[in-house]
Amino acid sequence: MRLVLAFLAVFGFAGGAAADGSMPVVPAATGDPHPEGNDYWRVHHMKMLLHDRDLTMRDGVRNVMPGEEPIQASLGECFDCHGVQDEAGAYVSYEDERHFCRVCHDYTAVQVDCFMCHRSTPSDTTAHRTMATPDDPSSIEAYLARVAQEMTE
């Protein structure tokens, strides 16, 4: 609870107090803002990620079906908007203290374990985020059609 209050304190004043160097400066993001609003995300992001990780990992729900209830938080997609670039334009990883997550987590001394396994920079490949169409040669449907044709020949 104390940590949550610390977070609230950090972000509550982030706008005004950051300039004097006493508060972390949250890196600006690109893309559309979260519909839930930043305040909600600042308080609840860890719960949202924890819930969705089990849904994805254990039930295979990956938010790729059209018309499905969307996954609220997918770690892989965070960095599409929240990637931080260095002077050379390369995205910084969690090793770098300018990383989006580290800016606040360093300040509040809350350790993040996510990046022991997950990548902490934007991904080059995003094919797995969308459902394969039947005309995609790597789709299960196209594959089964090819195999069925071979078997009849």
């Binding site: 295979g60 892989g76 990548r119 090819r146």
Partner: protein, 251 residues
Amino acid sequence: MTNRAEMTRRDIMKSGAAAATVTLAPGVTLMAFGGTAAEAAGRADAGKRWGLLIDASKCSPDCNDCVTACKTENGWGKDIESDHISPEQAPEWIRKVTLRDKTTGRTTSAPVMCQHCEEPPCVDVCPTGASMKRADGIVLVDKHICIGCRYCMMACPYKARSFVHEAITDQPEQNPRGKGTVESCNLCAPRIDSGRIPACVEACEKAGHSAILFGDLKDPDSPISKALKQYPNAALREDLELNPGVRYTNL
């Protein structure tokens, strides 16, 4: 189909959710209905069981494309991962095995990966529940709760599991993996969930061998089920009665 309580018997049958009936004694039956709302919506579907049929006669001993494709898809096998360990300890999701008959000298070659057992010993022994079997039969490790005890590695008769010894970065987004956890072939679950075939199957087909046949073992009309019914085939270590989802023919 929003609420399981509202599901009719017909809905359950249509959704493909598993309905198992076990006869305990004459006149006494135990019925179990599997399937959550998520499964009914076509995610990890209990009405399916994904499997592979590997035809060793089509597999070329010189070809390593399935292994290469797996490395690329899942991000394992970089040199840094085996810097301080012997090669046998290095992460390995899939490997090529060549068999040689001592009497005749005949050699056959086939890939070996996690066999996706119906009764997986790795799941039995896991103290945390990290080693798990999905509703669609895929056996994999939930690295969020894996403590790296490696009990599953010892339990697996196929040597399919490996341990990550080194800190790694730049993992593929769809396959997070890291130091201190056990991992193995997950039949490319992220690809299957997005309607794609596993990377090894795709690579084998591209190489012109088509030695790995992928499909749903529960669907009697699927090419894999038809082939299993038609041709002689075997599971590795059939004596253990684990009923693997990966089967071999012409071995």
